[in-house]
Amino acid sequence: MQLVLERIEQKVAAQTYLYPLDLTLVPGAVTVLLGATQAGKTTLMRLMAGLDKPTSGRVVVDNTDVTGVPVRDRNVAMVYQQFINYPSMTVFDNIASPLKLRREANINSRVQALAEKLHIEPFLNRLPAELSGGQQQRVALARALAKQAPLMLLDEPLVNLDYKLREELRDELTQLFAAGSSTVVYATTEPTEALLLGGYTAVLDRGELLQYGPTAEVFRHPKSIRVARAFSDPPMNLLKGELSGDAVLLAGGVRLPRSTSNATSTNVTVGIRASALQINASATTIALPGKVELAEISGSDTFVHAETAVGEVIAQFTGVHQFELGANITLYLQPDQAYVFDANGALLSAPIFDSRQ
């Protein structure tokens, strides 16, 4: 289905929840709404679903204006953060409910197939309360999928689960989305989750839609510092600099060889993703000597917070590495891996990426 939002705006009393925005969702694909809490993700989803009517603007589905058409008259499936199921119905009846409502055929086999896909087959005769949190959310997801709605909206569906369960369920969902034909909208606060889901990403920040495009492209070419901030975890290192010929001068007298055309002012911000800082030098890298503030270990990666000549930075290394607090460390940067933003925060130049697929 084709969902188009035209100059959508949402105000509640004097407060603006969403500034006027245009968004044409890519049909049949996953669109991630990425942004911190209060960015407007839920507000936007409620407008898409028809739970709320926008203050101004139009919602168009397959060339039909549906602005103001309530949710019950639209074909939409929703999954929320909280595990919402019918408490007095068995797992089977929960999943079957949208099918029964529409008096559809083959209910039994369709529920079985979905339960199998989501690994809740053994619990079909139990009540939701008898299941763990992860299993309860699987039931809610199965019910939403059973509906086979052309539009499926998921509002941070995995946020209340522990990280191993999230990993597992996210994997299953990505595969189910890919196999289905629904247009899926998935809200999250986590950049890594957006990248793992793939598809397209719309970056929201304080009620504004900042950028929409293929997820990896938005990640690699953020239009502005605001997008880069919202789409980096750990945070992108942002350093004030001054353009001087074919280099940017950073704090502590560090010179970053990097030319940018079309800058209107010499004041710039250099953005360095944590993964661009390396522990090994090469002929073209610049050195940033410093001291370790803390090494955070995530299991698969080590995040080193270091105080350096250019200011405090975070570096990301694959695997587990031990660093003592206060130890000396030198981080190396390939100059062409830095972003340069102008005085207004707009992207002047992005790193050069190889596309090898």
Partner: protein, 357 residues
């Protein structure tokens, strides 16, 4: 400060018969004086039960708890001389920050000069010196939790400080600062710290020694790199890292080695067992080509551009094998047959879930 020794089991049921009847299966464990320990595992693994047994909130159904050789099993929490920090701030809103920090000392009749010196020191460590005379009521949640931490640390004579998911209420971007504080404080005060969490980042970053628990059993005690490089149990390999370790079944005869049924020509030394499980992390497998006789043949089922690397999911004779591939390497296509080398210095071998080589 104390060395804590556990030699116990705990069942909430009266007559435990099977393994499932135990919240904690029989275990022997020593927490060394001045060490920083984390108890890590999914919900229901027994970590909170263990913490409550150390604090005295729960009396073990079998066995003993010793502090420096003295049996404290029958002692109440208040008789054990321990400090506890909980998930949510436990402070007096009507008191100032200084009065809150002084409270545990005042209660024990410590002299005013000593109280002043100690409160000053703890406030400085927590960077709260400027807020000492402010009322606690007006502070933000993370500042309140810092006071709770300070109250846990203020007494020099405590035998251990026990933390139960203390960073739950802290904003994600502030968490690393508190983790750093806790690490600094631990190296300065040399108190015995025991820290319960389900978050691998928190456990691996904070503790010198992490106790990984599942289904009432402590399956490994080790440093972050021990857990990453040499998981003693397949659960640890799976639980630590995102995604976790790959596991493939292997068979051996006197002349051949089969991995998932594929015959492998390799001189790599493997265990002297007919059947075992091979474990290797996605970070340590390499994409190679048909000429590599030591590689398994796999079919790519999913490719994810995670921005800073690619995650390639494949199936090897029905088993999932994931590889983390650097962005500058060639990325295989969906459905492509690839060759993946799984034998190197990082490969682990398991028999009945336990590391054998």
């Amino acid at each position: 400060m104390a060395r804590i020794e556990l030699d116990l089991a705990h069942a909430y049921k009266v007559n435990p018969l099977r393994d499932e009847d135990y919240a904690l299966l029989p275990l022997k464990m020593t927490f060394n004086d001045g060490g920083a320990y984390a108890l890590l595992g999914p919900s229901g693994c027994g970590k909170t039960t263990m913490l409550n047994i150390i604090s005295g909130l729960v009396k073990p159904s079998h066995g003993t708890v010793k502090f420096d050789g003295e049996d404290v099993t029958a002692l109440l929490p208040q008789q054990r001389n321990i400090a506890q920090v909980f998930q949510f701030p436990v402070i007096y809103d009507t008191m100032t920050v200084a009065e809150n920090l002084a409270f545990p000392l005042k209660n024990r009749g410590v002299s005013p000069q000593k109280i002043k010196a100690r409160v000053g020191k703890i406030a400085e460590m927590l960077e709260m010196s400027g807020q000492l005379n402010m009322r606690a009521a007006g502070l933000a949640a993370d500042a309140k939790q810092k006071i709770s931490l300070g109250r846990g640390l203020v007494r020099e004579d405590v035998r251990a400080v026990l933390f139960d998911e203390p960073l739950t209420v802290i904003d994600p971007h502030l968490k690393w600062q508190l983790r750093r504080k806790l690490k600094q404080i631990h190296s300065e005060l040399k108190l015995t710290f025991v820290y319960v969490t389900h978050d691998q980042v928190e456990a691996l970053t904070f503790a010198d020694q992490v106790v990984v628990m599942t289904r009432g059993r402590a399956v490994q005690i080790g440093s972050a790199s021990d857990l990453f490089e040499r998981p003693q149990h397949t659960f640890v390999g799976h639980f630590i890292g995102s995604p976790g370790m790959n596991f493939l079944p292997a068979k051996k005869t006197s002349t051949t080695l089969e991995i998932t049924g594929q015959r492998i020509k390799s001189n790599w030394v493997t265990p002297d067992l007919d059947q075992f499980t091979l474990g290797i992390r996605p970070e340590y497998v390499t994409l190679t080509d048909a000429s590599d006789a030591g590689a398994v043949q796999a079919v790519v089922t999913q490719t994810q551009d995670v921005g800073t690397y690619w995650l390639i999911t494949s199936t090897v004779s029905g088993h999932t094998l994931r590889a983390r591939v650097a962005t500058h390497q060639p990325i295989p296509k969906l459905g492509e047959t690839v060759h993946i080398a799984v034998l190197n210095t990082h490969t682990c071998f398991y028999n009945n879930e336990v590391l054998i080589a």
